[in-house]
Symmetry: C2
Subunit: 327 residues, 2 copies
């Protein structure tokens, strides 16, 4: 079985209209808007399933499109209404295809507000809608203002406590970016690095030994730049690698060189297959003869991975982490 741990829901034109009304239109007080009809939702989900079938993916864990989460958009009811709306849409799609799609909740994070603000929606999604995880944005200011503390800080503990109690993992993934010089795609990478270092130099896993965090996009820069952080830790008599291996990483890297480095540095035990397809990598790679985000054959072509390694990457680690999805 191939489990894609990093995938996003397909929105339809109707959804964008709701989003536009919530934002540009600023209906005040903001209300959630109506979901598209079941027929339209089914068609959107089927288009996703078709793409999964084409590349041999059995299950996708689908979350909101990160860059459309509007975490910095005031008032706080905007991201709240939108998170609920998109989570309801994800729920509908998962209900229609329960063996192929599993829900990963978006949280109504807002700027530098405590993540306690997101617990009610997390519980609704997990307990009432059957979601199996959530995404966690380390910078809900989206670059517009001073960000909250790093993920290693007790600021985030109320959320970590709930994640442990519910036994669901969080995929660490930023949202939009308000700086013209830092596209949201670059922000994803930079925030993954910041999150990774903050967590790996913190006491979070002493305080929450059962916390399950997946750093998206292969850990940003950290596996590549690891020497820098190893040196810093060595100077304090610690092991950066040991700390790093308390985290998990997805394979959303679209080069074989990058994937090999990830597997070498963090090891197969800590990597989850993830493609984000359809998304940034959905463009034809001439050299490969298929899209950049068709990663199954690329990983299969890495000949030094053992069969056991591949099993862990393609499904074993996702099964281990997403206990509510795979019983």
């Amino acid at each position: 079985m191939i489990i894609d741990s990093h995938a996003h829901v397909v929105l339809t034109d109707e959804c964008y209209k709701v989003m536009a009304t919530l934002t540009g239109g600023r209906n005040n007080p903001p209300t959630g808007g109506k979901l598209p009809s079941d027929a339209i939702i089914r068609r959107a989900a089927e288009s996703l399933l078709k793409q999964m079938d084409e590349v041999g993916t059995d299950v996708q864990l689908i979350s909101p499109r990160p860059y459309l989460q509007m975490h910095s958009l005031a008032p706080a009811t905007v991201p709240l209404m939108w998170a609920r709306y998109v989570n309801n849409l994800i729920h509908k799609q998962c209900e229609m295809f329960p063996d192929r799609l599993k829900g990963v909740a978006g949280l109504p994070q807002f700027r530098d507000t405590s993540p306690s603000n997101s617990i009610a929606e997390l519980e609704r999604c997990v307990n009432e809608l059957g979601f199996v995880g959530c995404i966690l944005d380390p910078d809900p200011t989206e670059g517009d203002g001073a960000p909250p503390p790093g993920l290693g800080d007790p600021f985030w503990y109320p959320l970590y406590e709930r994640l442990c109690a519910l036994d669901v993992p969080a995929l660490v993934h930023s949202a939009g970016c308000c700086h013209p010089r830092e596209s949201y795609t670059l922000k994803f990478v930079n925030e993954a690095s910041i999150a990774c270092v903050s967590l790996a130099t913190s006491k979070v896993f002493d305080d929450f030994p059962t916390l399950k965090l997946i750093i998206s996009h292969g850990g940003g820069a950290v596996p590549y730049q690891i020497g820098r952080f190893r040196a810093g830790a060595a100077r304090r008599g610690r092991s950066f690698d040991e700390q790093l291996r308390k985290l998990y990483f997805d394979t959303c890297l679209y080069s074989k060189e990058g994937l090999e480095l990830l597997f070498e540095v963090v090891g197969a035990d800590n990597c989850l297959f993830g493609t984000e397809r359809p998304g940034t990598g959905s463009a034809h790679n001439k050299e490969w003869g298929h899209d950049f985000d068709v990663l199954k054959p690329v990983i299969e072509s890495i000949d030094w991975l053992t069969a056991e390694d591949r099993h862990k990457i393609f499904q074993g680690n996702s099964r281990k982490l997403f206990t509510r999805a795979f019983k």
Copy 2:
């Protein structure tokens, strides 16, 4: 010959006192402060030479310690006075050991002020003090406020014009960071990524075909995350790699995995040996039996590099770029 393209001047206690007076003390109007005596400066330079000898480095290109540049500290005369002071110190050390040390100037950048503000100091350093390059901070706000546009923007053109006219390269390297969640060392990496992508998706090299820019720390995350950017460029019918190879990269990565990936992705023609020693990587690596930033043996152990590749990395590319240093 081994040329270390990324190295920094050794400051002494006297220098820190001047810095403290400029900052905490805020003498107003700020004045530059006195350089240490020649004997003290010589001793500092000799300590650097000793370290170079120990690891087989023939020449270091020395610039100010990036994180101590104070580019965000108002008034603008603070970074100006400090840049002049440190450049004068570098000049002294280079004069004492002209075959071993070459000067790379710090610029008195200030927040989002145009880099035109730095041209007089750049010209002083190159024309009067014999400097061979400069370092360029892509975010002189140091994270405290909205940063200036990315390096691909015409905002930076006045400086690029002078760099070309003077025929000196710039090492792209950020300074401090005011966000508690993003250490300056993480900021170095993230800013290298932002710079790299901004430049590789710009028209800068159409407008300045002779501009020579070196992205520090092996390009931040970009070589590792290259699939992401290749996909984006492919979608627009362009080649990201082609653009990337208009840039140069130093080898300030402290793992063999990272170095191999850098050489694979950007190629030996575009990589300059650089260690930043003594610096972040000066901690003992048990596995290697020497410090993380002793990179010569690590690069020599990469067996698929040809003798020609190694020659380019260790000296050829630095000679090609730093024409004023190696005639």
